[in-house]
């Protein structure tokens, strides 16, 4: 399998416009943003207490979203991550496919490259099909998104559709200015839990 899937000619989507559209009118949406550019993209849209941007734990974003979705079945959970990050934890597709949380959406910003380490091509550049992998692992549906109209429709699904939902958004491999979220993991954790669970978050054991 060596044929690149990026051969089509229409311009690819710009990642920050995609994320701004996805997170518009986010309401009470809980967001895990995977290591690297997705964390910067989510922060560029607006730092938010219900964002949990990852500075490490590569490969863990999807499983983290699963743990959160199982703990909060009445809230919608969006995992926003990159192709390289998901590839490192591809088995978590199978784990999610078995649990089938209805409130979880896994959205991959696929630029077909490892953007933070020097833009080396990733497996998706060579035809590895993440959306098909999600379906094969038991996700009821998975889409490949290539237009902004589809991104707007996806936002509706993130808030309302029965999950687990998988979408792979084809984006340009741009290296954009860093927009860094807070770095202190305890701060990120505490503000997230307090925004979600109330002040009780610091008392429950």
């Amino acid at each position: 399998m060596t044929k690149a899937t990026s051969a089509h000619t229409e311009p690819k989507l710009e990642r920050r416009s995609v994320v701004r559209t996805l997170l518009a009118e986010r309401g009470q949406l809980l967001v895990i943003a995977g290591l690297g550019a997705p964390a910067w993209d989510a922060t560029e849209t607006g730092d938010h207490p219900l964002n949990f941007p990852l500075w490490g734990g590569m490969g863990g974003a999807a499983a983290m979203g699963l743990g959160l979705a199982l703990a909060q079945p009445d809230r919608r959970v969006l995992v926003l991550t990159g192709d390289g990050e998901l590839l490192m934890g591809l088995g978590s597709l199978a784990t999610i496919g078995v649990q089938r949380p209805r409130n979880l959406a896994l959205v991959v910003l696929d630029n077909e490259h490892y953007g933070e380490t020097g833009m080396q091509p990733s497996h998706t550049k060579f035809g590895v099909d993440l959306a098909a992998s999600a379906v094969a692992c038991g996700f009821p549906a998975a889409s490949v998104v290539t237009t902004m109209q589809q991104v707007t429709a996806l936002r509706e699904d993130v808030h309302r559709a029965a999950g687990p939902l998988f979408a792979q958004i084809k984006i340009a491999a741009d290296k954009l200015a860093l927009v860094l979220p807070p770095r202190d993991g305890t701060h990120l954790k505490n503000r997230f839990r307090e925004a979600l669970l109330g002040s009780d978050a610091h008392f429950r054991r």
Binding site: G57, A62, M64, G67, L68, A71, S92, Q99
Partner: protein
């Protein structure tokens, strides 16, 4: 020597402890020593048993669970400790509680030479990554050691592990 097919009392004790401590998510990569506990957790409607493809998913799952207010435990064999190393960073950086219940291989009377390196390294690896490690080598130790590990984790917001010794579990012999 106990056999691996009998339902040990301590599995029932551990399940009762997890219930009493209101543990809601139990993730696992199976090991023979955890068979009975996994079955008990799977049939408990107050718990969610989550089968993993690799142990590091369980670390990430625990972070998400705790963000959402759920306590969790992770069950694995000692060989799985090595799979968790980088992901364990998140627990210490974010001060996230988790108790790992680890059944030992490469320990007492091990049959398989390939199990020895990771079994030998499991405790040191966990400790290097900031996990407080306790051992249970006698059946009567399991419940108090597990309770201590669980209470300490969730009272002081840090990861803990209980290593369950192979002498207690019974060494796998492949009928040799």
């Amino acid at each position: 020597m106990p056999t691996q097919t009998a339902v040990p009392h301590w599995s029932q004790d551990l399940h009762a402890l997890l219930r009493q401590q209101r543990v809601r998510q139990v993730s696992f990569v199976p090991d023979a020593g955890h068979t009975a506990l996994i079955r008990l957790c799977e049939s408990d409607t107050d718990m969610r048993a989550v089968r993993l493809t690799t142990e590091e998913e369980g670390i990430a799952l625990a972070v998400g669970a705790w963000l959402g207010g759920d306590k969790s435990v992770l069950l694995m064999q000692s060989s799985g400790v090595g799979n968790c190393i980088n992901m364990l960073s998140m627990l210490s950086v974010c001060q996230i509680p988790l108790t790992m219940l680890v059944t030992m291989r490469g320990d007492w009377a091990e049959f398989n030479p390939w199990q020895v390196p990771m079994g030998r390294a499991a405790k040191a690896v966990l400790e290097e990554m900031g996990v407080l490690v306790y051992r249970a080598d006698r059946e009567e130790d399991i419940l108090p050691v597990a309770e201590g590990a669980l209470r300490l984790a969730y009272n002081t917001l840090r990861p803990t592990a209980m290593l369950i010794g192979q002498r207690l579990l019974g060494a796998k012999t492949f009928d040799q």
